[in-house]
Protein backbone atom coordinates (compact mmCIF):
# COMPACT_ATOMS: atom_id res chain seq x y z
CA UNK A 1 0.00 0.00 0.00
CA UNK A 2 2.81 2.39 0.92
CA UNK A 3 4.62 1.63 -2.36
CA UNK A 4 1.44 2.23 -4.37
CA UNK A 5 0.90 5.58 -2.68
CA UNK A 6 4.49 6.59 -3.42
CA UNK A 7 4.08 5.65 -7.09
CA UNK A 8 0.74 7.48 -7.28
CA UNK A 9 2.21 10.61 -5.67
CA UNK A 10 5.17 10.49 -8.09
CA UNK A 11 2.77 10.13 -11.01
CA UNK A 12 0.54 13.01 -9.96
CA UNK A 13 3.55 15.25 -9.30
CA UNK A 14 4.88 14.58 -12.80
CA UNK A 15 1.40 15.21 -14.23
CA UNK A 16 1.11 18.49 -12.36
CA UNK A 17 4.49 19.64 -13.69
CA UNK A 18 3.71 18.57 -17.25
CA UNK A 19 -0.10 18.50 -17.59
CA UNK A 20 0.06 17.82 -21.34
CA UNK A 21 -1.43 14.33 -20.91
CA UNK A 22 -4.41 15.65 -18.91
CA UNK A 23 -4.90 18.59 -21.28
CA UNK A 24 -4.77 16.23 -24.27
CA UNK A 25 -7.33 13.93 -22.64
CA UNK A 26 -9.75 16.78 -21.91
CA UNK A 27 -9.38 18.21 -25.42
CA UNK A 28 -9.77 14.75 -26.92
CA UNK A 29 -12.86 14.08 -24.82
CA UNK A 30 -14.48 17.42 -25.70
CA UNK A 31 -13.76 16.94 -29.40
CA UNK A 32 -15.07 13.37 -29.37
CA UNK A 33 -18.31 14.37 -27.63
CA UNK A 34 -18.78 17.23 -30.10
CA UNK A 35 -18.12 15.06 -33.15
CA UNK A 36 -20.33 12.23 -31.87
CA UNK A 37 -23.11 14.74 -31.21
CA UNK A 38 -22.82 16.19 -34.71
CA UNK A 39 -22.88 12.71 -36.25
CA UNK A 40 -26.04 11.55 -34.48
CA UNK A 41 -27.62 15.02 -34.47
CA UNK A 42 -28.18 17.32 -31.48
CA UNK A 43 -31.66 16.01 -30.66
CA UNK A 44 -30.59 12.40 -30.50
CA UNK A 45 -27.37 13.32 -28.67
CA UNK A 46 -29.42 14.97 -25.88
CA UNK A 47 -31.48 11.83 -25.20
CA UNK A 48 -30.89 10.33 -21.77
CA UNK A 49 -30.00 6.96 -23.32
CA UNK A 50 -27.50 8.45 -25.79
CA UNK A 51 -25.69 11.33 -24.05
CA UNK A 52 -24.19 9.08 -21.30
CA UNK A 53 -23.04 6.54 -23.89
CA UNK A 54 -21.18 9.28 -25.76
CA UNK A 55 -19.71 10.42 -22.44
CA UNK A 56 -18.39 7.01 -21.38
CA UNK A 57 -16.95 6.16 -24.79
CA UNK A 58 -15.12 9.49 -24.79
CA UNK A 59 -13.91 8.93 -21.20
CA UNK A 60 -12.62 5.46 -22.06
CA UNK A 61 -10.47 6.83 -24.87
CA UNK A 62 -9.33 9.69 -22.63
CA UNK A 63 -8.25 7.08 -20.05
CA UNK A 64 -6.22 5.29 -22.72
CA UNK A 65 -4.58 8.58 -23.73
CA UNK A 66 -3.62 9.46 -20.13
CA UNK A 67 -2.35 5.97 -19.31
CA UNK A 68 -0.34 5.67 -22.52
CA UNK A 69 1.28 9.05 -21.82
CA UNK A 70 2.08 7.95 -18.29
CA UNK A 71 3.85 4.77 -19.42
CA UNK A 72 5.68 6.62 -22.21
CA UNK A 73 7.20 8.74 -19.45
CA UNK A 74 8.23 5.55 -17.63
CA UNK A 75 10.09 4.10 -20.60
CA UNK A 76 11.66 7.37 -21.80
CA UNK A 77 14.80 6.76 -19.70
CA UNK A 78 13.94 3.24 -18.52
CA UNK A 79 12.62 4.63 -15.22
CA UNK A 80 10.26 1.67 -15.06
CA UNK A 81 13.21 -0.76 -14.77
CA UNK A 82 14.40 0.83 -11.55
CA UNK A 83 10.94 0.35 -10.01
CA UNK A 84 10.50 -3.20 -11.29
CA UNK A 85 13.90 -4.23 -9.93
CA UNK A 86 12.76 -3.38 -6.39
CA UNK A 87 10.98 -5.97 -4.22
CA UNK A 88 7.25 -5.42 -4.63
CA UNK A 89 7.95 -2.97 -7.44
CA UNK A 90 5.51 -4.53 -9.88
CA UNK A 91 2.62 -4.43 -7.41
CA UNK A 92 3.44 -0.88 -6.39
CA UNK A 93 3.70 0.26 -10.00
CA UNK A 94 0.35 -1.22 -11.02
CA UNK A 95 -1.59 -0.14 -7.95
CA UNK A 96 0.03 3.30 -7.98
CA UNK A 97 -0.77 3.87 -11.65
CA UNK A 98 -4.32 2.68 -10.94
CA UNK A 99 -4.78 5.19 -8.12
CA UNK A 100 -3.19 8.02 -10.10
CA UNK A 101 -5.29 7.29 -13.19
CA UNK A 102 -8.48 7.25 -11.10
CA UNK A 103 -7.58 10.64 -9.62
CA UNK A 104 -6.73 12.07 -13.06
CA UNK A 105 -9.85 10.61 -14.64
CA UNK A 106 -11.96 12.20 -11.92
CA UNK A 107 -10.72 15.60 -13.10
CA UNK A 108 -11.01 14.73 -16.80
CA UNK A 109 -14.47 13.18 -16.27
CA UNK A 110 -15.74 16.19 -14.35
CA UNK A 111 -14.47 18.72 -16.88
CA UNK A 112 -15.65 16.53 -19.79
CA UNK A 113 -19.08 16.13 -18.17
CA UNK A 114 -19.45 19.87 -17.67
CA UNK A 115 -18.39 20.40 -21.29
CA UNK A 116 -21.02 17.94 -22.47
CA UNK A 117 -23.74 19.54 -20.35
CA UNK A 118 -22.83 22.94 -21.78
CA UNK A 119 -22.42 21.77 -25.40
CA UNK A 120 -25.67 19.79 -25.49
CA UNK A 121 -27.63 21.96 -23.04
CA UNK A 122 -28.45 18.87 -20.96
CA UNK A 123 -30.82 18.84 -17.98
CA UNK A 124 -29.58 16.69 -15.10
CA UNK A 125 -32.55 15.66 -12.94
CA UNK A 126 -30.51 13.97 -10.18
CA UNK A 127 -27.14 15.71 -9.84
CA UNK A 128 -26.01 13.69 -6.81
CA UNK A 129 -26.80 10.39 -8.50
CA UNK A 130 -25.02 11.52 -11.66
CA UNK A 131 -21.92 12.44 -9.63
CA UNK A 132 -22.02 9.08 -7.83
CA UNK A 133 -22.29 7.19 -11.14
CA UNK A 134 -19.41 9.21 -12.58
CA UNK A 135 -17.23 8.61 -9.52
CA UNK A 136 -17.85 4.86 -9.59
CA UNK A 137 -17.31 4.71 -13.35
CA UNK A 138 -14.00 6.50 -12.90
CA UNK A 139 -13.02 3.72 -10.47
CA UNK A 140 -14.26 0.94 -12.77
CA UNK A 141 -12.23 1.84 -15.88
CA UNK A 142 -8.56 2.11 -14.77
CA UNK A 143 -7.94 -1.53 -13.71
CA UNK A 144 -8.35 -2.82 -17.26
CA UNK A 145 -6.82 0.15 -19.06
CA UNK A 146 -3.63 0.20 -16.94
CA UNK A 147 -3.19 -3.56 -17.29
CA UNK A 148 -3.62 -3.45 -21.09
CA UNK A 149 -1.23 -0.53 -21.54
CA UNK A 150 1.33 -2.33 -19.34
CA UNK A 151 0.89 -5.56 -21.31
CA UNK A 152 1.53 -3.81 -24.62
CA UNK A 153 4.26 -1.52 -23.33
CA UNK A 154 7.09 -2.75 -25.57
CA UNK A 155 4.95 -3.40 -28.65
CA UNK A 156 5.01 -1.12 -31.65
CA UNK A 157 1.30 -1.76 -32.31
CA UNK A 158 0.40 -0.55 -28.82
CA UNK A 159 -1.79 2.33 -30.01
CA UNK A 160 -4.01 -0.06 -31.93
CA UNK A 161 -3.91 -2.95 -29.47
CA UNK A 162 -4.93 -1.16 -26.28
CA UNK A 163 -8.44 -0.16 -27.43
CA UNK A 164 -8.91 -3.58 -29.05
CA UNK A 165 -7.98 -5.34 -25.81
CA UNK A 166 -9.70 -2.95 -23.40
CA UNK A 167 -13.01 -2.16 -25.09
CA UNK A 168 -14.55 -5.68 -25.09
CA UNK A 169 -13.60 -6.26 -21.44
CA UNK A 170 -15.07 -2.92 -20.47
CA UNK A 171 -18.47 -3.43 -22.14
CA UNK A 172 -20.19 -4.28 -18.80
CA UNK A 173 -18.76 -1.12 -17.20
CA UNK A 174 -19.79 0.99 -20.20
CA UNK A 175 -23.32 -0.45 -20.13
CA UNK A 176 -23.63 0.05 -16.37
CA UNK A 177 -22.17 3.55 -16.55
CA UNK A 178 -24.46 4.56 -19.41
CA UNK A 179 -27.55 3.31 -17.59
CA UNK A 180 -26.51 4.76 -14.23
CA UNK A 181 -26.00 8.20 -15.78
CA UNK A 182 -28.98 7.91 -18.14
CA UNK A 183 -31.40 7.12 -15.34
CA UNK A 184 -29.89 9.96 -13.26
CA UNK A 185 -30.53 12.35 -16.16
CA UNK A 186 -34.11 11.04 -16.47
CA UNK A 187 -34.82 11.26 -12.72
CA UNK A 188 -35.05 7.54 -11.87
CA UNK A 189 -33.17 7.40 -8.55
CA UNK A 190 -33.57 3.72 -7.70
CA UNK A 191 -32.52 2.53 -11.17
CA UNK A 192 -29.51 4.84 -11.09
CA UNK A 193 -28.42 3.45 -7.72
CA UNK A 194 -28.85 -0.14 -8.94
CA UNK A 195 -26.65 0.49 -11.99
CA UNK A 196 -24.13 2.33 -9.80
CA UNK A 197 -23.99 -0.77 -7.61
CA UNK A 198 -22.95 -2.75 -10.66
CA UNK A 199 -20.23 -0.20 -11.38
CA UNK A 200 -18.95 -0.59 -7.82
CA UNK A 201 -18.93 -4.38 -8.18
CA UNK A 202 -17.04 -4.10 -11.48
CA UNK A 203 -14.49 -1.74 -9.91
CA UNK A 204 -13.86 -4.21 -7.08
CA UNK A 205 -13.73 -7.36 -9.21
CA UNK A 206 -11.53 -5.91 -11.95
CA UNK A 207 -9.33 -4.18 -9.36
CA UNK A 208 -8.66 -7.48 -7.58
CA UNK A 209 -8.08 -9.30 -10.89
CA UNK A 210 -5.73 -6.56 -12.05
CA UNK A 211 -3.69 -6.52 -8.84
CA UNK A 212 -3.42 -10.32 -9.04
CA UNK A 213 -2.37 -10.46 -12.70
CA UNK A 214 -0.25 -7.33 -12.99
CA UNK A 215 2.98 -8.59 -11.38
CA UNK A 216 3.16 -11.43 -13.90
CA UNK A 217 2.06 -9.22 -16.79
CA UNK A 218 4.42 -6.27 -16.38
CA UNK A 219 7.84 -6.90 -17.94
Amino acid sequence: MRGALLVAARELRADARHPDGVATAITFMGALILIESLVVGPQVARESAVAPALYWIALLFAAIVVTTRSFEREVADDAIDAVLALPGGRDALYAGKLAALAATLAVVGLVGGLLQIALLDLDVALVGHALLATALGVLALPAVVVLDVALTLRLRARAALVPILAAPVLVPQLVAGTNALGTALAGDASASLAWSGLLLAAALVYGVVGVTLAPAAID
Partner: protein
Amino acid sequence: MESTAERGASLRGATVLLGDRAVLRDLDLDVGPGITILRGPNGAGKTTAIRALAGLVPLAAGTRDVRSDLLYVGHRPQLLHGLTARENLRFFVDLRGPTSMAPASPAALGSDGARDARIADAFARWGVGEDADRPVERLSAGQRRRAALARLDTEWCGLTLLDEPFAELDEDAARLLRASLVAARDRGAAMLVASHGHAELDDLAARVYRMRDGRTE
Protein backbone atom coordinates in the same frame (compact mmCIF):
# COMPACT_ATOMS: atom_id res chain seq x y z
CA MET B 1 20.71 -9.54 7.58
CA GLU B 2 22.93 -11.62 5.28
CA SER B 3 26.63 -12.12 6.08
CA THR B 4 29.33 -10.76 3.81
CA ALA B 5 30.19 -14.24 2.59
CA GLU B 6 26.58 -14.93 1.54
CA ARG B 7 26.15 -11.61 -0.22
CA GLY B 8 25.77 -11.73 -4.00
CA ALA B 9 23.88 -13.51 -6.73
CA SER B 10 24.25 -16.20 -9.34
CA LEU B 11 22.81 -17.53 -12.57
CA ARG B 12 22.94 -21.28 -13.28
CA GLY B 13 22.36 -22.60 -16.77
CA ALA B 14 20.52 -19.40 -17.64
CA THR B 15 18.95 -19.21 -21.07
CA VAL B 16 17.04 -16.15 -22.26
CA LEU B 17 15.16 -16.12 -25.53
CA LEU B 18 14.34 -13.07 -27.61
CA GLY B 19 11.79 -14.42 -30.05
CA ASP B 20 13.40 -17.59 -31.35
CA ARG B 21 16.94 -16.34 -30.75
CA ALA B 22 18.88 -17.26 -27.58
CA VAL B 23 20.60 -14.14 -26.20
CA LEU B 24 21.87 -16.05 -23.15
CA ARG B 25 22.86 -19.69 -23.58
CA ASP B 26 23.29 -21.91 -20.55
CA LEU B 27 25.11 -19.12 -18.72
CA ASP B 28 26.74 -19.66 -15.31
CA LEU B 29 27.65 -16.48 -13.47
CA ASP B 30 28.63 -15.89 -9.85
CA VAL B 31 28.77 -12.49 -8.21
CA GLY B 32 30.27 -12.44 -4.73
CA PRO B 33 31.60 -9.74 -2.41
CA GLY B 34 33.84 -7.27 -4.22
CA ILE B 35 33.78 -6.14 -7.82
CA THR B 36 33.02 -8.60 -10.61
CA ILE B 37 33.52 -7.38 -14.16
CA LEU B 38 31.45 -8.63 -17.08
CA ARG B 39 33.30 -7.83 -20.29
CA GLY B 40 32.48 -8.51 -23.90
CA PRO B 41 31.77 -6.92 -27.26
CA ASN B 42 28.47 -5.29 -28.15
CA GLY B 43 25.76 -7.90 -28.45
CA ALA B 44 27.56 -10.46 -26.27
CA GLY B 45 24.65 -10.61 -23.81
CA LYS B 46 26.05 -8.52 -20.93
CA THR B 47 22.97 -6.34 -20.53
CA THR B 48 20.66 -9.34 -20.72
CA ALA B 49 22.73 -11.14 -18.08
CA ILE B 50 22.47 -8.15 -15.74
CA ARG B 51 18.74 -7.77 -16.43
CA ALA B 52 18.28 -11.48 -15.75
CA LEU B 53 19.98 -11.08 -12.36
CA ALA B 54 17.78 -8.05 -11.66
CA GLY B 55 14.69 -10.12 -12.43
CA LEU B 56 13.76 -7.98 -15.42
CA VAL B 57 13.79 -10.71 -18.06
CA PRO B 58 12.31 -14.19 -17.66
CA LEU B 59 14.58 -17.22 -17.89
CA ALA B 60 13.57 -19.81 -20.48
CA ALA B 61 15.81 -22.27 -18.61
CA GLY B 62 18.10 -22.21 -15.58
CA THR B 63 17.87 -20.53 -12.21
CA ARG B 64 18.52 -17.16 -10.64
CA ASP B 65 19.60 -16.83 -7.04
CA VAL B 66 19.85 -13.37 -5.48
CA ARG B 67 21.03 -13.34 -1.88
CA SER B 68 20.95 -9.61 -1.16
CA ASP B 69 18.85 -6.54 -1.68
CA LEU B 70 19.89 -5.21 -5.06
CA LEU B 71 20.43 -1.89 -6.75
CA TYR B 72 20.28 -1.96 -10.54
CA VAL B 73 21.46 1.03 -12.56
CA GLY B 74 21.09 0.41 -16.27
CA HIS B 75 22.85 2.03 -19.18
CA ARG B 76 20.10 4.66 -19.24
CA PRO B 77 19.58 6.86 -16.15
CA GLN B 78 16.20 5.41 -15.07
CA LEU B 79 15.01 8.81 -13.83
CA LEU B 80 11.34 9.69 -14.41
CA HIS B 81 10.81 12.69 -16.68
CA GLY B 82 8.69 15.37 -15.07
CA LEU B 83 10.39 15.00 -11.70
CA THR B 84 13.59 16.65 -10.56
CA ALA B 85 16.69 14.58 -9.89
CA ARG B 86 16.16 15.13 -6.16
CA GLU B 87 12.53 13.99 -6.32
CA ASN B 88 13.60 10.89 -8.23
CA LEU B 89 16.18 9.90 -5.63
CA ARG B 90 13.76 10.60 -2.77
CA PHE B 91 11.26 8.30 -4.47
CA PHE B 92 13.78 5.48 -4.77
CA VAL B 93 14.93 5.77 -1.16
CA ASP B 94 11.34 5.89 0.13
CA LEU B 95 10.11 3.03 -2.04
CA ARG B 96 13.04 0.80 -1.14
CA GLY B 97 12.97 1.40 2.60
CA PRO B 98 15.87 0.37 4.82
CA THR B 99 18.70 -1.48 3.07
CA SER B 100 20.98 -4.25 4.31
CA MET B 101 24.12 -2.13 4.24
CA ALA B 102 22.76 1.15 5.51
CA PRO B 103 24.68 2.71 8.40
CA ALA B 104 23.42 1.39 11.73
CA SER B 105 22.70 4.82 13.15
CA PRO B 106 18.94 5.50 13.16
CA ALA B 107 19.68 9.09 12.23
CA ALA B 108 21.13 7.82 8.97
CA LEU B 109 17.80 6.50 7.79
CA GLY B 110 15.07 7.40 10.19
CA SER B 111 13.61 10.67 8.96
CA ASP B 112 12.86 12.69 5.88
CA GLY B 113 15.47 15.20 7.01
CA ALA B 114 18.16 12.52 7.26
CA ARG B 115 17.16 11.12 3.88
CA ASP B 116 17.28 14.56 2.28
CA ALA B 117 20.66 15.28 3.85
CA ARG B 118 22.04 12.02 2.48
CA ILE B 119 20.73 12.85 -1.00
CA ALA B 120 22.11 16.39 -0.81
CA ASP B 121 25.52 15.02 0.20
CA ALA B 122 25.48 12.57 -2.68
CA PHE B 123 24.53 15.26 -5.21
CA ALA B 124 27.22 17.60 -3.86
CA ARG B 125 29.78 14.84 -4.18
CA TRP B 126 28.70 13.96 -7.72
CA GLY B 127 28.65 17.60 -8.81
CA VAL B 128 24.94 17.64 -9.60
CA GLY B 129 24.51 20.72 -7.38
CA GLU B 130 21.97 23.21 -8.72
CA ASP B 131 20.80 20.78 -11.37
CA ALA B 132 19.30 18.59 -8.64
CA ASP B 133 16.15 20.71 -8.61
CA ARG B 134 15.60 20.87 -12.36
CA PRO B 135 13.36 18.38 -14.16
CA VAL B 136 15.65 15.60 -15.34
CA GLU B 137 14.63 15.93 -18.99
CA ARG B 138 16.30 19.37 -18.99
CA LEU B 139 19.65 18.03 -17.79
CA SER B 140 22.51 17.07 -20.07
CA ALA B 141 23.11 13.37 -20.60
CA GLY B 142 26.21 13.56 -18.41
CA GLN B 143 24.41 15.27 -15.53
CA ARG B 144 21.56 12.77 -15.74
CA ARG B 145 24.12 10.01 -15.56
CA ARG B 146 25.77 11.57 -12.52
CA ALA B 147 22.36 11.96 -10.82
CA ALA B 148 21.56 8.30 -11.50
CA LEU B 149 24.93 7.12 -10.17
CA ALA B 150 24.42 9.18 -7.00
CA ARG B 151 22.05 6.34 -6.05
CA LEU B 152 25.18 4.35 -5.19
CA ASP B 153 25.63 6.71 -2.26
CA THR B 154 21.98 6.91 -1.18
CA GLU B 155 20.86 3.29 -1.46
CA TRP B 156 23.48 1.08 0.17
CA CYS B 157 22.53 -2.38 -1.04
CA GLY B 158 24.26 -5.72 -0.63
CA LEU B 159 24.32 -6.24 -4.39
CA THR B 160 24.82 -3.57 -7.06
CA LEU B 161 24.39 -4.23 -10.78
CA LEU B 162 25.81 -1.58 -13.11
CA ASP B 163 25.46 -1.65 -16.87
CA GLU B 164 28.13 0.37 -18.71
CA PRO B 165 28.45 2.87 -15.84
CA PHE B 166 31.35 4.75 -17.44
CA ALA B 167 29.34 5.69 -20.52
CA GLU B 168 28.83 9.47 -20.84
CA LEU B 169 31.06 10.22 -17.84
CA ASP B 170 33.89 12.72 -17.98
CA GLU B 171 37.19 11.95 -16.24
CA ASP B 172 36.14 13.62 -13.01
CA ALA B 173 32.90 11.64 -12.81
CA ALA B 174 34.72 8.44 -13.71
CA ARG B 175 37.02 9.01 -10.74
CA LEU B 176 34.00 9.58 -8.49
CA LEU B 177 32.42 6.35 -9.71
CA ARG B 178 35.59 4.43 -9.05
CA ALA B 179 35.77 5.87 -5.52
CA SER B 180 32.13 4.96 -4.85
CA LEU B 181 32.72 1.40 -5.98
CA VAL B 182 35.84 1.12 -3.83
CA ALA B 183 33.88 2.38 -0.82
CA ALA B 184 31.11 -0.15 -1.47
CA ARG B 185 33.65 -2.92 -1.89
CA ASP B 186 35.26 -1.98 1.42
CA ARG B 187 31.83 -2.20 3.08
CA GLY B 188 31.61 -5.77 1.80
CA ALA B 189 29.08 -5.22 -0.97
CA ALA B 190 28.89 -7.43 -4.05
CA MET B 191 28.99 -5.62 -7.39
CA LEU B 192 28.68 -6.65 -11.01
CA VAL B 193 29.85 -4.13 -13.58
CA ALA B 194 29.25 -4.68 -17.30
CA SER B 195 31.62 -2.98 -19.70
CA HIS B 196 32.18 -3.52 -23.40
CA GLY B 197 35.90 -3.06 -23.33
CA HIS B 198 37.31 -0.40 -21.06
CA ALA B 199 39.60 -1.54 -18.29
CA GLU B 200 38.90 1.19 -15.71
CA LEU B 201 38.26 -1.26 -12.91
CA ASP B 202 40.41 -4.27 -13.78
CA ASP B 203 42.90 -3.51 -11.00
CA LEU B 204 40.06 -3.59 -8.45
CA ALA B 205 38.23 -6.63 -9.78
CA ALA B 206 37.89 -9.79 -7.76
CA ARG B 207 36.81 -11.61 -10.90
CA VAL B 208 36.51 -10.85 -14.62
CA TYR B 209 34.10 -12.74 -16.88
CA ARG B 210 34.39 -12.47 -20.65
CA MET B 211 31.19 -12.96 -22.60
CA ARG B 212 30.60 -13.79 -26.23
CA ASP B 213 27.43 -14.99 -27.96
CA GLY B 214 25.49 -15.27 -24.71
CA ARG B 215 28.07 -17.38 -22.88
CA THR B 216 31.09 -16.80 -20.70
CA GLU B 217 34.37 -17.83 -22.31
